[in-house]
Structures are given as structure tokens and as C-alpha cells.
């Protein structure tokens, strides 16, 4: 049955997240301004006074929303507080952990799961097209070790991570099929954090460059354990890419949360200024400012629903590859328009660093870039529509 009303239990969980979010927001500006020297701690001082984070997957009745839907809403309201600062930063939370869970062997999962694992695919010479990865992995049969070489950039959480899932090719001539992922822990000789990036936004989240020079890791640290290079098809590549079916909606949800914060701030200012938001009226009976704001709200709501739709499909056990790209593409551009538009409405108040709106606009700008740019999402959607392969449309 079609329904968009949260149950009381759903709402209680989200209220708790919002309450945490407001605490995090107090630190948001600080970490934005101290990018070069600090990253937010794993736990804020207030965490000790707080009830444990509600268990999202728990449902009390049929009226409660499914776990993926709740996970997306949870993400929305965490980021509504602040994108980078969390009351509690569970250590096991990097993108690499998602890859480990999707593609690792049982033994690997057990061994690594309690570490924060970053994910390193992007290189100076390739981002959107990960099949062009040039970092290499060569097997030393004598010592049963992989020897890794190459440079990885833009590694989210790369400074604070305990280790990384990095992509390297074992056979350049095999293209996609030659690409494998490897688990590498910090402290392994030949693995170095070479740089921390300075960015437009999401400054509280560290982004690092990794250099691997003759870095030797045990043979069993190839994720999934399959060393074979298939001569045809994309081999394990497709499996690893599946990791992104739920992370794309999550990235969209980041942006929905941040832009919702900007809308809430703007709405309060409009109320203070006595601007009437009359949803029943026709256009002729609204001010230009009210009209603009209400349209941004509608855009936000539309975007949020595309995210929930992708999550709902996952809860039903239905494929959501297209829908994940739909929501990522939609939110990627919507949150840019929304946060930039809020500044339009707010004027100098919007660009002042006394408020967070200008930060929210900077933070939102990443949504259309990582985990596949807006253009890459459009390619995925179009291939789905046309029933085209990557070679047909790229």
C-alpha cells in the first residue's frame, strides 16, 4: 500500500538522530575552519550522556518502515546535523567496509570487519573510468606476496582509516577483468599517506593521497580470493561495482540532509521577515521570494522521494540499479540548486560565515562528483533505457 507517513516508532528514531545532529552542528564550523590540522574525533564529549544510537533495522510493527528506507532517512538527518561531525563515528564505517562485506570471503570479513577501511580506486590519471586503473599488483610466487605499486588520490577518510581496499591491475592487457581489489593495512612497509587534500567543502572529512611503492602484502589479502583473470567479460569487476547500488542512494541522502538544513534555516528567516508561504494560493498571490522558496522545497521533496524509492526497492529485494542512479543524478543537481538558491533568497546572510548556509552550499557541491559524477549516472540511466552496453554508450 502506498504510504508516506512515518510510524511513531520511525519518527522517534529519527527525532533521536536529529537531536544528535544538533549537537554535531555546534562543531560544524570549527572543523570546517581547522581542516589542515584536525579531523573530528571518533566521539564527541557529549556522547557519554547520550542514549545508544537506536537500532535502525528494528521494527515493532507492520507500520514501521523497512531497514533500507530507515537507513537512508538516518543518513539524511545525520547530515542535516553535519556531514562530517558525528556524535559517534563508528570505526567500522568506510566505503572499504561496504566492499569487504560485498566481495570478501568469510574469513576476510571476520578478520577485517572491525577496522575502518577506506576505498581507493581513483588515480591521478583516472576517476570516472575505473577500468583504466594503472596501479599494479604482481604476485611473488616465492614469498606468496603481492607487490603493489601506484598512486591513489581522493581517498575518503584516508588519514583516519586503519586500512584500505585498493584497486590494482594484475594484468594490464586484460582490461577490466585484470582489476582486483586488495586489503592493505596502515603500517605495511611501502604504503604511505602522502598528502591530505584541501577542499571547497566537506572539510571536516579527510581526503588523502596514498602511495604504494613495492608494498608487499600476503597473498590472501586479495579481496574475495579469486586470482583468476577471465579472458572474457568483466570478471569480478561487476561484482565490486555492485557495492555502489546502495552507496549511491546514501550519497544522495547526504545531500538531501544538508540541503534540508539550508531550507529549514531559510524558512525560519522568511518567517521572521513575515513572508507568507501560502501553498494554496495561485502564483499571482505569492511574492517572488515565496515562489522561489516553495519551488526549492518541492525540488527537495522530489529528490528525497527518489532516494526513498531506491531504498524501498532494496527492502523488497528488488533490483535498484537504475533507481540508484536516478536518485544520485537527481539529488546531485537538485542540492546544488537548492543550496545556491537559498543563498539567493538570504542574500548577505547567506554568504556570511556567521551562519552555516554558505558551508552547506560548499558541502553539497561534492554530491554530484564522487561515487560517479552526474554525467556517469546519466550514462547508467540512459544505458538502462536504451538497453545499451558500456561500449554502445560511453
Amino acid at each position: 500500500m502506498i504510504s508516506f507517513e512515518l510510524s511513531e516508532y520511525d519518527r522517534a528514531k529519527l527525532d533521536a538522530i536529529k537531536e544528535e545532529g544538533l549537537i554535531c552542528r555546534k562543531y560544524a564550523r570549527y572543523y570546517d575552519e581547522h581542516e589542515e590540522t584536525e579531523i573530528p574525533p571518533d566521539e564527541l564529549p557529549e556522547a557519554k550522556d547520550f542514549a545508544p544510537t537506536p537500532n535502525l533495522a528494528s521494527r515493532q510493527s507492520e507500520e514501521d518502515s523497512g531497514p533500507s528506507v530507515m537507513a537512508m532517512l538516518y543518513t539524511v538527518y545525520r547530515c542535516w546535523g553535519d556531514y562530517a561531525v558525528k556524535l559517534r563515528q563508528p570505526k567500522a564505517g568506510g566505503l572499504g567496509n561496504a566492499a569487504l562485506m560485498a566481495a570478501g570471503t568469510d574469513e576476510q570479513k571476520q578478520r577485517w570487519i572491525n577496522n575502518f577501511l577506506a576505498m581507493a580506486i581513483t588515480e591521478p590519471g583516472c576517476g570516472s573510468d575505473p577500468s583504466r586503473v594503472t596501479a599494479s599488483a604482481v604476485l611473488d610466487e616465492e614469498t606468496n606476496e603481492w607487490i603493489l605499486n601506484g598512486e591513489k588520490i581522493f581517498v575518503t577518510g584516508g588519514v583516519r582509516a586503519d586500512g584500505v581496499v585498493m584497486w590494482a591491475t594484475v594484468d594490464k592487457s586484460a582490461g577490466r577483468a585484470g582489476i582486483k581489489s586488495f586489503l592493505v593495512m596502515k603500517g605495511t612497509p611501502g604504503f604511505e599517506v602522502a598528502k591530505k587534500e584541501k577542499k571547497l567543502g566537506i572539510r571536516g572529512e579527510d581526503t588523502a593521497t596514498y602511495v604504494f611503492s613495492d608494498c608487499r602484502i600476503p597473498r590472501d589479502q586479495l579481496l574475495g580470493g579469486n586470482e583468476e583473470v577471465q579472458k572474457k567479460g568483466s570478471g569480478g569487476f561487476r561484482g565490486v561495482m555492485k557495492t555502489f547500488n546502495m552507496t549511491r542512494p546514501a550519497v544522495a541522502a547526504f545531500g538531501i540532509g544538508i540541503s534540508e538544513a539550508a531550507l529549514d534555516f531559510t524558512r525560519e528567516e522568511l518567517e521572521k521577515a513575515g513572508v507568507d508561504l501560502d501553498y494554496g494560493a495561485g502564483m499571482g498571490n505569492r511574492s517572488a521570494v515565496a515562489e522561489k522558496f516553495m519551488k526549492l522545497e518541492a525540488l527537495h521533496e522530489a529528490s528525497k522521494l527518489t532516494v526513498l524509492r531506491a531504498a524501498w526497492l532494496a527492502d523488497q529485494g528488488q533490483p535498484n540499479n537504475m533507481e540508484s542512479s536516478v536518485c544520485k543524478a537527481h539529488a546531485g543537481s537538485a542540492v546544488r540548486e537548492i543550496t545556491q538558491g537559498c543563498i539567493d533568497i538570504l542574500g548577505p546572510l547567506g554568504v556570511s560565515r556567521d551562519n552555516l548556509v554558505e558551508k552547506w552550499m560548499r558541502d553539497c557541491r561534492i554530491i554530484d562528483i564522487y561515487e560517479g559524477t552526474g554525467q556517469i549516472q546519466r550514462l547508467i540511466i540512459a544505458r538502462g533505457l536504451f538497453d545499451y552496453t558500456r561500449d554502445d554508450l560511453n
Partner: protein
């Protein structure tokens, strides 16, 4: 609970209407538009699908299914996917019937519903739209003035479906600072129905007429919801959601038409679908069709649960109005010069989308 799941019944209805839209509505659409005509047997066929009468209680001659705005929204998207003009024709009688069901007094239901729920097509329709720039359905220029035992109505209504044959009109008017709706019989003294159907940009299949109300007198019992008045805001919300549903259907029609066309059409040695400028336009169009639909469902679901749906309906209507037009407009671009000719339906959908976006009233879910 957040859920995008259809009930089994809704799934079946969607399937049946989709088939009807493809098999019956689409083949009629071009001729009906060109000639501004509406075949009687089409109306009868639609009538037999029961769109108008299904949700009416058996006591009033209907089939007694639960009132479900989400079901109607789903059906309307499918019909409009066939053709928006014919969809509006098919659903216009429901506008009046739903208003009585949702906001009418017992006496009004008993008096009017049986006559509108028989085996033959019959209709009352909504008279909401007004002439003039910047019309605002929530602040009608048409006025109702109380007098002993009733009200006097004065004003002009436009885009009233089936002015040629409706037995009753539901006229929305300003009553002091409120908005109210009044049941007006077609033979009421002081009511002049435009002799000719209006000539509009789109939705040409459905005959729409202008009404002049020059001191039309109605009784207390003709005010929708009686002396307390019905919730006319909610009535307008169901209308906004309905128009948004139509826009989803129209936009989806455009995308589904353009996809195979783009895979077929070759320029510079390859299918235009392989050019990103075209591929991205369609990817974005598909994305917007989805986004629009969920906003419509959200509004419909709030209406169904009896919640305040004004904001949700505004969002569905405003967003679908803008994006539905944008998608239809892209549809023409994908076909190039061919899209500009009346050989292809994309220009028809473009006109439909442009017209739907500026209406409020006319249909409801």
C-alpha cells in the same frame, strides 16, 4: 511507513487501464485532437470501466469500493499516457462525484449520486477555472452572496468540461472571506452556457465551455457540505494532484516514444541515442518522470488518509507542471523537425502538458 507498493487490486487496475490506454485511447487521440471531437462510444466504453462509479457506495448506485485517491491517481496516469484530452474527458464526471462523496451532505449525495452513477454515461462537472491572467482558484473572482434561504452567484467560469451535456456544475466562488462551492443545475435561471466549445491549445478532445453566472440563485441545500461548507481547499488539492497525475502520464508517453526513435534514427553515422546530448536529455527526462510520480503519490496518499495535503498537492502540481512540460518539450527536440510536425504525437503531448500546467479544477482524483 514509507511504502511505494501497490495493492494487488491497484496493480490489476493499472494493468487494465494501461491496456485500455494503449489499445483504445492512443489510436483515437490524434483524430480527436484534430477534429475536437469525442466519440460517444468512447465515453460509454470508459464509463463501463467504472472509473467514476467504483468508489461510490452501493446505496447511491455505485460499486461500493473504498474511496482511494492513490488508485485514481494511478489510473489517471495511465489514461493520460494514452491521451491527456481523453483522460480529462474520462475523469471529468468524477470531479463532481468525488466532491459530493468527500464533502457533500447526506441529502446531496442521495439527491444527486444515483443519477450520476447509472449504466449510461452521465455527468456533473467542476467549474473552478476563471478567465483573466493570474487566476487563483483559492481566491475566485466569482462571488456568492448570502440571501435568505440561499445564495446568489455572479461571475464567469472557464474550461468547464462537458458544458454541452453536464446536468450539474460545481461552481467555486468567494463567500465573504471563505471559498465555497455550489451545485448549479444546467437549467438554472441566470446561467448562460457558451454555445460553442472553447478553442484551446491542448486537451482538444474534451469539450470545455465558458459559463456566465449572472445572479444565479441557489438554495442553502445547494452549498457543498451544507451551511457549514465543504472543505473546498481539499477539493482543490485533489484537483491539483489529478492534473499532476496527467502530467506524469504525458511525460512518460514522451519518453517512451523517444527511446525507440532515438535508437532507430541515425545521424553522422550512428544512432542519435549514442550521442550524449540526446542520451542525457532522455536520462534526465526519465528521472523527472519518476520524481514527479512520487510527489503525486505522496499527495494522493495524504488525501486518502484525510491528512492536510495542501503542501504536498502544491508540490506535485507545481513540480509536475514545470518538469512535465520540460520533458514533453525535450520530446520534440529528440525528434527534431519531425517532432514539430503533426505526423508524430510529441507536439500533441507538448500542447497537453502546457495546457494541464495552468489549470486548477477540471478533474480530480
Amino acid at each position: 511507513m514509507i511504502s511505494f507498493g501497490l495493492t494487488e487490486e491497484q496493480d490489476a487496475i493499472r494493468g487494465a487501464i494501461r491496456e485500455f490506454a494503449q489499445g483504445v485511447v492512443r489510436p483515437l487521440a490524434r483524430d480527436c485532437d484534430e477534429q475536437s471531437k469525442l466519440p460517444d462510444d468512447f465515453l460509454q466504453q470508459v464509463w463501463e470501466l467504472g472509473l467514476t462509479t467504483t468508489q461510490v457506495p452501493e446505496a447511491f448506485g455505485g460499486m461500493g469500493a473504498d474511496r482511494s485517491q492513490t488508485t485514481t491517481a494511478i489510473a489517471l496516469e495511465e489514461l493520460a499516457y494514452g491521451d491527456a484530452g481523453l483522460a480529462v474527458a474520462a475523469l471529468a464526471p468524477s470531479g463532481f462525484v468525488n466532491a459530493l462523496l468527500d464533502h457533500g451532505t447526506e441529502e446531496q449525495k442521495q439527491r444527486l449520486l444515483p443519477g450520476l452513477c447509472g449504466t449510461e454515461f452521465a455527468c456533473g462537472t467542476l467549474a473552478v477555472v476563471e478567465p483573466g491572467a493570474m487566476a487563483d482558484a483559492s481566491r475566485p473572482k466569482t462571488t456568492a452572496t448570502a440571501k435568505s434561504g440561499g445564495y446568489v452567484l455572479k461571475g464567469t467560469k472557464r474550461f468547464v468540461p462537458f458544458g454541452d451535456r453536464a446536468t450539474h456544475f460545481l461552481v467555486v466562488a468567494a463567500l465573504d472571506s471563505e471559498i465555497a462551492a455550489f451545485i448549479v443545475a444546467r437549467d438554472a435561471a441566470g446561467l448562460t452556457i457558451g454555445a460553442e466549445a472553447e478553442k484551446n491549445l491542448g486537451l482538444r478532445a474534451v469539450p470545455v465551455h465558458t459559463l456566465e453566472l449572472d445572479g444565479v440563485e441557489v438554495s442553502d441545500g445547494d452549498r457543498l457540505g451544507g451551511s457549514a461548507g465543504g472543505n473546498v481547499r481539499a477539493l482543490l488539492d485533489t484537483s491539483r494532484a489529478a492534473l499532476a497525475s496527467c502530467l506524469v502520464g504525458v511525460a512518460r508517453a514522451a519518453v517512451e516514444y523517444c527511446v525507440p526513435y532515438a535508437k532507430e534514427r541515425v545521424a553522422f553515422g550512428e544512432e542519435i541515442a549514442k550521442k550524449q546530448a540526446i542520451a542525457f536529455m532522455l536520462a534526465e527526462s526519465h528521472t523527472e518522470v519518476e520524481a514527479m510520480r512520487w510527489l503525486v503519490w505522496q499527495a494522493a496518499s495524504k488525501l486518502e488518509k484525510g491528512l492536510d495535503a495542501t503542501k504536498a498537492s502544491y508540490q506535485a502540481w507545481s513540480y509536475a507542471g514545470e518538469k512535465g512540460l520540460w520533458v514533453a518539450d525535450n520530446g520534440i527536440q529528440v525528434l527534431g523537425g519531425h517532432g514539430f510536425t503533426r505526423e508524430h504525437p510529441v507536439e500533441l503531448w507538448f500542447r497537453s502538458a502546457r495546457t494541464l500546467g495552468v489549470l486548477e479544477g477540471t478533474v480530480s482524483i
